[in-house]
Point group: C2
Chain length 570, copies 2
């Protein structure tokens, strides 16, 4: 009961935080997270002076949880400042005293490498939102082990400002004897060609020129976008739970999922909402992984249709009268037990034409560990973030997922919106993605030989919502004149895939065009833009679609290429 009461207290204090950091941790999981301790009535207050200058400086680094990854810039310097405050003459506290401060009401204390910090004031400014409260009363180390981005100089400098004392030597000893293990230690091996944007959690993309070599992206180079450590799931004991509104419930083993429902196969492209974020960073710094143009890949996926499983669980045609959303919970979790979560609209989930799969195969083989083994959701036409991997639970609900990633991340805003003004409730969670295309060959900054007389330009194009790409225009002169590229829906030596039914074009198109080199030009500004069958087009420029999280970056893609004159002419 005590733990439940504490949880309520945490929840009640939510509104004290900034609007963008609203999380509503379920009371039950809260009880698991909080360790037992004293009743915490100690009201001693070590108010530390923090003037407006700090607040202003911090405003610049505030972000959603995903955004703390921006901390990653200087992590090589992190270790050297671990000991800056060692020589202080501040009070000594017991672990018990620290543990008694774990709410905004009682003050929020934490320890780090033997020092004690009162971070009460910082909670509202924490880039990762309320989650910081989960470390309240305890040691930061296991949390920082999860998000390595904390380990950098300026994070430690911020923390130092909140120092109020030292932990009693014997308590520190105890703490150190409980070695925090690396939650990423069991992550799988990855292909060395991948360009790594973040190691923990693992986020990486293939080199663009390799990406469009294959219509179906080989699984090892399919872009990886993990939010948390890869969970180890035993296929024998794996269970998928389907629950939610009264009317249906079902638990399935992997074997049951494979044998009780027809196996359905689709070819579908997945794209991270942050694909091409690096181009937004060039306009103005955003928060998030600095993805290039290859956070997108195409695969075949096989599995049971979500629609069939929901029907088997008792969710018939009437479900729409009470439910609007289908939530997914992953088995990947942070040290507090919080799992990755997302939801999609019910009508997408139950539509015969929605093609939502509970996939257990990728490119004809068991799902790789990085892609959700043994079961993931594939929501074709929908942003990667809703394609929940290592799927543990499906919840039919009147509400969207309450997860951070559904509520306070993966949303689009006006370029005018900054971290001081953003109201995450004002924008819808990204589901269908807009029209997209990019040039994979030639690479930006390379050169082509004048003697070749022509240049071949290649790339990909895709649109969300099952809207088929119908045209890609390519310009060599920065967008003044255009030519139409050839599209294809298969590898070059293979017959094209059968044209998809209307509204179910889930896969990208690869495109290519060979154009004579303009006689006068010394440099080409190659541009591409795609059109889908609702005739939506890409916006011309990045700045007017810039947004603070750097998502939905789909302006015309531009690369500059020099024309190298023949040696004989030089």
């Amino acid at each position: 009961m005590l733990l439940l009461r504490r949880c309520h207290r945490l929840t009640r204090f939510g509104p004290l935080n900034t609007q963008r950091h609203q999380a509503a941790p379920a009371v039950a999981s809260c009880a698991v997270r909080l360790r037992s301790g004293s009743s915490g009535e100690d009201q001693r207050s070590y108010q530390h002076a923090h003037g407006p200058s700090w607040r202003q400086a911090l405003a610049g680094v505030l972000a959603g949880t995903g955004a703390v990854l921006a901390y990653g810039l200087h992590h090589h310097k992190a270790e050297q400042v671990d000991t800056i405050e060692k020589a202080s003459a501040l009070p000594i506290f017991t672990q018990e005293e620290v543990t008694s401060h774990r709410s905004l009401e009682d003050g929020v204390w934490v320890t780090y490498k033997g020092a004690v910090y009162n971070i009460t004031e910082f909670v509202a400014m924490h880039p990762g939102g309320d989650k910081i409260l989960l470390a309240a009363g305890g040691d930061l180390e296991p949390f920082w082990a999860l998000y390595a981005v904390h380990k950098q100089e300026h994070v430690l400098e911020i923390l130092a400002e909140y120092k109020i004392g030292e932990l009693r030597a014997e308590d520190l000893k105890k703490q150190q004897s409980v070695k925090s293990s690396d939650p990423y230690s069991s992550d799988p091996e990855r292909h060395p060609v991948l360009r790594i944007n973040s190691l923990k959690p693992f986020n990486a993309e293939p080199p663009p020129e390799i990406l469009t070599d294959s219509y179906i992206t080989p699984s090892p180079i399919f872009f990886k976008r993990n939010h948390l450590p890869v969970p180890q799931v035993d296929p024998g004991s794996y269970r998928l739970h389907v629950e939610g509104l009264p009317g249906g419930a079902l638990t399935l083993s992997l074997e049951e999922l494979k044998t009780r429902f027809p196996k359905h196969t689709i070819t579908a492209t997945l794209q991270c909402a942050g694909n091409r974020r690096s181009e937004m960073n060039k306009v103005k710094q955003v928060k998030g992984l600095n993805w290039g143009i290859a956070a997108i890949s195409n695969a075949t996926w096989s599995g049971a249709r979500l629609r069939d499983v929901l029907l088997a669980a008792g969710y018939g045609p009437d479900v729409a009268k009470r439910a609007c959303h289908v939530q997914f919970e992953g088995l990947d979790k942070d040290v507090t037990g919080t799992t990755y979560g997302a939801s999609i609209p019910l009508n997408k989930a139950v539509s015969e034409e929605g093609d939502v799969l509970l996939a257990y195969e990728m490119n004809g083989e068991d799902l790789p560990a990085d892609h959700g083994y043994p079961v993931r959701v594939v929501v074709p036409g929908t942003v990667g973030a809703r394609n929940v991997k290592w799927l543990g639970k499906i919840i039919v609900s009147a509400e969207e997922s309450s997860s951070h990633w559904q509520q306070n991340d993966y949303k689009g805003f006006s370029p005018a919106t900054d971290w001081d003004t953003v109201d995450f409730k004002s924008a819808p969670a990204i589901q269908e993605l807009p029209i997209q295309s990019a040039i994979t060959v030639p690479a930006d900054g390379t050169a082509v030989d004048r003697s070749g007389e022509e240049v071949t330009v290649k790339g990909y194009a895709w649109s969300g919502g099952g809207r088929e790409v119908v045209r890609v225009d390519v310009s060599l002169d920065g967008g003044k004149t255009w030519q139409v590229a050839q599209l294809r829906s298969s590898d070059k030596d293979q017959a094209p895939e059968v044209s998809p039914p209307p509204g179910r074009a889930w896969a990208w198109k690869l495109w290519e065009i060979t154009v004579p080199l303009p006689a006068e030009a010394q440099e080409l500004e190659i541009v591409c833009k795609a059109v889908d069958n609702s005739y939506n087009m890409q916006p011309d420029t990045v700045a007017p679609i810039w947004n603070l999280r750097g998502v939905l970056s789909n302006a015309w893609h531009r690369v500059k290429v020099k024309i190298r004159e023949d040696e004989s002419e030089e």
Copy 2:
């Protein structure tokens, strides 16, 4: 049989025409169109010399049927040149001789005001496509009465080049005794506030500043887009025919349509594919009516659901195995009996969430004559052209409508495509429209008073495919900085409409923002751009989306407004 053979011949000769003018007139209706006559074996050939200069000049005016409206620029001059060729000393032909030339094989002759023309060479260049063959062997006058755009100087100049002789006086007399009546004489009265783009057929839009005064556009000012004369339909004898693939057929009276099926009401915005075409004309001349920003309006529509009628006609869930399209034929027809036609994908037609109506009410009253009385199709989220008015027939089919408007019009192309290179088969027929918005207040070129200290900007925003508008950004400085406008889904004094289910946002949003006048500025370049819930955005500029038919004009909308300094300060 003779007539049928002739029809085949016409069809066989289709490929001689340029690719953009492929029409496949049904043999049956062909038989009705062609008058009886001699067997036409006369092979006399009056080849008229037309050098490349004429071809080049004509290339500039070539267009689809809708495009002949571009002829309208100079129609006031038409009458004065009627007689330019009167003094010629060319041969005299009988009507019988003329009538014997009505195929590309035999030569294509026509008469006009007593002169005879061999237009065989012109057929491939006719802006209206193959339809010109329907006048073969006869008089042009009834056709030109239908499309008043022909009555202008340069059209008559082109015709004059093909003159080969005079019609025998007694045949001319006979011809004149059959007075061609004006097929538009029974068109309804229209509201005087409408801005007329074409009188025959009637095409008009309301003034923009009035348009956004009402969330529901009053029917009299709802934009009018007719392709042909308004047919007079007797509600008592009206019959709607449902037919097509084996498996279903049904004929319904108006009363049966109203009583046998549940009445369903939706609020849906209709937009012409050519809305905002005038902005494309400023980049480079396109072919089509010069619409401003008000070829879009919003109404409530009530009627039977197409889905219900198709089910009653026997088209059950299995229909998708053989059919892919649902075609619509209007009762509006040209002098040859060719009706307006279009089709939509079957899945839109039969989906419970597609909300396609056979509407008999608009804004709570019987459909007005201009909007399809007694029954029209309303295909929400889809381009106006598929919302067939004066609906006569519904055909379930494996094929799209073969009509000119489905095959060779209402398609989007690259800015690189011109009338010499266009291949209408290469682009999909427009169905769902892309994201759109425009500024209705203030009007371009007006002024605001400095003393007012602020400016209020108003407009509309809408997207096709049921995608809800989620944000409108407004800039006063040409797109450098942005602010977010307030959206509304009702009139100001009324409660907002209930939020639509996902994917069924058929109605526009009106938006408004009041912004302080920048202190330094003397002129504002006000810009708007909208975002829908698939996060598609409008392209920045017009030139890169320019296309030869001037459709899909959805770049940022821009108006320039001067700031008038106060008199006291002058």
